[in-house]
């Protein structure tokens, strides 16, 4: 082995099996770069900070709440915010601050899982459809059109009703929601990834991969996919906010998770009865939904400007 070959070999090894330190360093660079990029857009940085706070609160919920969110205490009903109860108590004397945090943890988890589910089905579907083209593509896309035309909220209403009739509760109910919301996101993801693939597959690197004998699947998923992620990330971020709005709306209508599970939508609905005497109870869950959706929208908006500089000039 000549010295040059040896060095090349070492480089290859470094790529293949990075040490822990190397990996950490690479992550640090990646995070540093990401932060540097983020700072280009004020909207994105504000959104990012809001999201970090949100996720932080969701993760730390068990440690920063002091009350059981479903434990009733009728001696302390409808109390205003105090040192003991940071945001006061609701009609059953439950601590609103604890309910908000536990409810948010659940809501954000549902949204993340639903969007991940939608991406994990929609991306391969769209990428393969766009990559193979022809008849496969036509049929696959007609099916997607059919789903896209379906009014979202109505689909959720049907699915949630079914879940209720089958007496699904707790975690099962949440899983049905995740499935429905993720499934409804699939056609959008499929369309978006397909149209990006149509652009990407004309490019030279695809031809190059084919020339060195890579298979179609490998090219579609390993070469093209990484090049189309940015519009998908933006879309997924905005979708997270939308999913949270929908889940809240469903439970506001009384079709989501039944009480006493802490839930921003149903807590808000319950607070309507006390609007005149204790309007603050209705304010907190509403503000929480607003904050969360706004955080995702800000981040998504800013991200779009960063990833598509043509738009950022506006």
């Amino acid at each position: 082995m000549t010295e040059l070959e040896a060095r090349k070999f070492a480089d290859l090894e470094a790529i293949r099996a990075p040490t822990l330190g190397g990996r950490l360093a690479r992550w640090r660079t990646a995070l540093g770069n990401a932060w540097h990029e983020l700072r280009k857009s004020r909207t994105a940085s504000i959104g990012a900070v809001m999201l970090v706070l949100l996720f932080g609160a969701c993760i730390a919920t068990p440690w920063i709440t002091t009350y059981d969110p479903i434990k009733q205490n009728f001696r302390e009903r409808l109390q205003p915010p105090s040192e003991k109860h940071l945001l006061g108590t609701d009609r059953m004397g439950r601590d609103i601050y604890s309910r908000l945090l536990w409810g948010g943890r659940r809501l954000v988890t549902i949204a993340l899982l639903a969007v991940t589910f939608g991406l994990s089905i929609g991306i391969p579907y769209g990428v393969l459809s766009g990559y193979f083209g022809g008849k496969v593509d036509t049929v696959a896309m007609r099916f997607v059109d059919g789903l896209l035309a379906f009014p979202g909220l109505l689909l959720y209403l049907l699915i949630v009703t079914l879940a209720r009739e089958w007496k699904m509760e707790g975690i099962y109910n949440d899983m049905v929601l995740i499935f429905a919301l993720g499934f409804a996101f699939t056609p959008e993801v499929a369309r978006l990834s397909r149209s990006s693939v149509l652009v990407e597959k004309q490019k030279e690197y695809v031809e190059a991969s084919r020339a060195i004998g890579e298979g179609s699947f490998a090219i579609a998923l390993r070469q093209i996919l990484p090049n189309i992620v940015s519009p998908l990330i933006v879309n997924a971020t905005v979708r997270l906010g939308y999913v949270i709005l929908i889940v809240a709306a469903l439970s506001f209508l009384g079709l989501g998770t039944p009480p006493p599970t802490p839930d921003w939508g149903s807590d808000l609905a319950a607070a309507r009865d006390y609007m005149e005497t204790a309007p603050l109870i209705a304010a907190f869950p509403g503000l929480a939904i607003c904050y969360t959706v706004l955080a995702f929208n800000l981040f998504g908006d800013g991200l779009r400007d960063i990833l598509d500089p043509r738009l950022a000039e506006r």
Partner: protein, 316 residues
Amino acid sequence: MLAYIIRRIAYLVPVLFVLTVVVFTFVEMLPGNIIDTLVGSEGVNDPEVRKILEKEYGLDQPVYVRYAKWLLRAVQGDFGMSLVTRRPVAVELMSGIPATVYLAVVGISLSMLIAVPLGTIAAVKRNTAIDYTAQVTSLIGISIPEFWFAILCVLFFSLYLGWLPSSGFANPFVDPWASLKFLILPAAAVGFRQAAYTTRLTRSSMLDEMNKEYVDTARSVGLSEGKVIFKYTLRNAMIPTITISGLQLANLLGGTVVLESIFAWPGIGRAIFEAILQRDYPLVQAGVLVLGCIVVIMNLLVDLTYRLLNPRVKLG
């Protein structure tokens, strides 16, 4: 264009197929069968009676035969009887459509009245205080859950100020003044959210247009700034705005369930929601089907209008 219209209509077939299958499957997937649903909690204990009923409702036939029969009847407007009121489902649904259309059209018009001027000003005065205010307001507008906004409106205008009724409906042809009072809050709740979308859209399509070459040309031949904006850019920028508003209108017709419930608005959305609560599944099934068809047809019309307004778009 004609070929395009025909092809576009042919696309409706798979869309409507998916829609009908989903709606049909929904009732199929309910626990128990239609007889339990019809008879209620007591159930049918006599196996003989059960058999007769099953034959009557065609439950002894395979699923696809039942689907075909159901579809055939649905096309003729026969959706069966409501389990609660025992009146034909079609009648129940039809009575809700005018109220829904009324609210959606007023809401969208209101949003256009606010959003188009606001978006235009924001684009023309880009990066000024006005622009930032418009941007921040519209971003908050799309992040506020509409039911919360509605509740806040009720809290302030009905309970605190006492100016407007908190919910209800009056026929505009019988009592226009009362009808207007009932309309203001729901229409504002619909309009606010829509206005937020439309403002963002108008702003960005105005900016798109203002960067085009014909604007420089128009300016260089000495046209006034007002003329350039109102006669040329705004007109072109309105194409996407109108298109998206049309799509939003379609969505509103299919999705004001939440607001209609809050304001006790007697529209089709609330009819479906109450049917869900009362387990009146024939009504739910038909309601979703009808709303779905309205949305699909509206989408088609909007698409065709878009091509008419913008002949440069390739008919593909």
